[in-house]
Amino acid sequence: MNPRQLARAAVALVFGIVAVACSGGASSSTTTSEPNSLTVWLMNGSAPQSIVDGVNADFKAKHPNVTVNVQIQQWSDVTTKLDTAFAGSSPPDVVELGNTLVAKYAAAGALSNLTSRKGSFENSSSWLQSLTDSCTFGGKLYCVPYYAGSRAVVYRKDMFDKAGVKPPTTMDEWMQAGQTLMDANKSDAGFSALYYPGKYWYAALPFVWDNGGDIAAQSGGQWKGSLDTTQSQQGLTTLATMVGKLSRADKTGDEAKQDQAFIQGHIAMLIANGWEIGVITDPKTGDPSLKDKLGVFPIPSRTAGKTAPVFLGGSDLGIAAKSKAPNLSQEWIGMLEGNKWQTQMATVGMVIPNSTTLLSLNDGQPLVGTFANAAKNSRFVPNSPNWANVESANVIPDMLVSIFTGKATVAAASKSASDQITSILNSKS
């Protein structure tokens, strides 16, 4: 580059900076007509990059002048970030929300009411019921179902074969299989037949539900925590016995690193989401050679011939009430939630798509199919705007840690957790 070109480039750069600096002020006053950018917050691990890129390309084709800015958020601190963003004057236009968080933000007036726009979304008549329920607050629709996930047991077929055990079909068989695996791997002091980090509360719920217990029940407008009922306690006792005998995972740890631990080869079973198979077999994050050694079975029930009800996790897509581009947001969401990209979510992203018409997509898949089947017998957390606070206050993880570490008995820990849940759910939000 010769000096004259350099000078020209410098001048251009200065003009560019001035232009950018000025556009910050100018854009806010002119956005009412046609916003030229759309900010989208997606959660870490939700849509594979290829799908995000594909949706953006489709969107760009229709709106060449609009820049879509997709930002990936982490689950661990997302509520604090969302609170701050929604309080500000320019929150992200489109937000992905965990299905247990929607009620909180809908009740606080952070999300746009989409009831009148529902018909414009593809498959809106066949959306998964429980996701639609999580989007509904006070009879109005505040978000669009995005995808669902349910948990099952991922296991190492080679370890099962070596120990001579088969995938269990009842809770008792599960316990016995675990014990046999522990005995077969006695020499490995770090071996876990079932790797269960103490704070993994999503995986504890099937035990509670399978015994007829629940987190809380509502009657006459008042919530009452029910983790301390005989049924719930029975489930928690079974879980505690299992964890005590079969798991050498950190009793105070959470499940964030469980896939990394699984890859090390000292774990026979893991309670995991469908997409975690992808993490485990990914060449970068995991070990591709495990691909043929993995099997999946649904969490067994204590009753033969049934499976335990699982927690239906998932995400929804909402539009911020303060968004300056609600129409563009709606279009972008419409693409991600429609047939074209939901098919990709199911086959590439290995999650459960948002519509019952797409559920059969995973039938041919031996691993992912099991997760989709498990979702058919699924339950949800109490649908209250205060539920997010129960999660934020770590009530259930703390209870599990106290039980597993022997700091409190099942009876005492579940009583105190239950009281706390009653109090949080009934407090004015």
Binding site: T80, F86, A108, G109, G190, D250, T252, A393, D398, T405
Partner: protein, 331 residues
């Protein structure tokens, strides 16, 4: 920047007062009055800018916080930018909450232990630095500087790795040294052990400042006093308590009050060490306030906890400042 207009305003006010003067008396009387006024105003003109800065940086947020603590301020109010005044309800709720009193008690014990340990270790290291040879002193201060230069968050992450359940070097080393079976030992399962690590981490982080300040103080202790005491047959213990300590008293007082303030409001070390999800047995005041405000999204209640924290710290500081003034440390 904010201070400049205020100075000019003050000057303008002074000259305005001056201009309105002559009507009331003879020119000579006016001149003395003017001189007296200016002389009286000078200190205020000088202190004015810093007062304005302090007001903008400290008083405004504090007032805002106090105001917030009297409101019911949840997520809905945050988004609407409008709280509901509830008087002292947030404080009443706090006082009635047994968890709050546990947190206060835990914070006091934590602060007492941490301050005592860091002061003791800091003094010992400073005395050591005074006695060792030059190169060793250089090594020692370089080591302290490294500790000081490590960003807090990085330091906490390193400590977290050292005491990790699965891969920690502490468990590995203790097992290798045959001090017991520490394979899969969980340091944070019981709060006593967990707080042991956290106290060690806070003390470790506090040492550089304490040691270097105390070492600088020790340099000021007149050699001849110590030599005189020694020749009078005083033991090392006696020399320290009867000669060195009284001279260092003002420095001790300042370090003690600063350490108390820092340790009482400890947050990062607990929060990051426990993966941003500490169980209630690990709540100290700072953590509790954060959980109430940002996790449970009750900003009014979180503000009330913060105000209590500020009041406690202010009374501690007041006590030390008064002690210091009495002992003649403030000249």
């Amino acid at each position: 920047m904010c201070a400049v207009p205020s100075t000019t305003t003050d000057e303008a006010a002074a000259s305005a007062a001056a201009a309105s003067g002559p009507r009331t008396g003879s020119p000579a009387r006016w001149r003395t009055l003017r001189r007296r006024l200016l002389r009286g105003a000078t200190p205020y003109l000088l202190i004015g800018p810093s007062l304005v800065v302090i007001a903008a940086v400290m008083a405004y947020p504090m007032g805002f916080l106090a105001n917030l603590s009297l409101q019911d301020y949840g997520l809905r109010e945050l988004i609407a930018h409008q709280g509901v005044f509830v008087g002292a309800a947030n404080y009443a709720r706090l006082v009635a909450d047994p968890l709050f009193w546990q947190v206060v008690g835990r914070s006091i014990v934590f602060t007492a232990v941490t301050v005592a340990l860091s002061m003791a270790a800091g003094t010992l290291l400073a005395l050591l630095m005074e006695r060792v040879s030059g190169p060793v002193r250089l090594l020692l201060s370089a080591g302290l500087m490294f500790v000081w230069a490590t960003p807090v968050v990085v330091a906490i992450d390193v400590w977290q790795w050292m005491f990790d359940y699965e891969f920690g070097i502490a468990n590995w080393a203790l097992t290798r040294l045959h001090l017991g079976d520490f394979v899969h030992h969980n340091w944070f399962e019981t709060p006593t052990q967990g707080f042991g690590i956290i106290v060690a981490l806070v003390v470790w982080g506090a040492l550089p400042f304490l040691v270097i300040t105390l070492y600088a103080g020790l340099m000021q202790v007149p050699r001849e006093l110590i030599e005189a005491a020694r020749s009078d047959g005083a033991t090392a213990w006696q020399v320290f308590w009867q000669v060195t300590a009284p001279i260092l008293r003002p420095i001790f007082a300042i370090l003690l009050s600063l350490s108390t303030i820092w340790d009482f409001q400890v947050f990062n070390q607990v929060w990051i060490m426990l993966n941003a999800r500490p169980s209630a047995t690990y709540y100290v005041m700072g953590v509790y306030s954060y959980v109430e405000a940002f996790r449970v999204t009750q900003y009014g209640r979180g503000a009330a906890v913060s105000i209590v924290l500020v009041v406690i710290l202010m009374s501690v500081t007041f006590f030390y400042v008064r002690q210091m003034a009495r002992s003649g440390g403030l000249d």
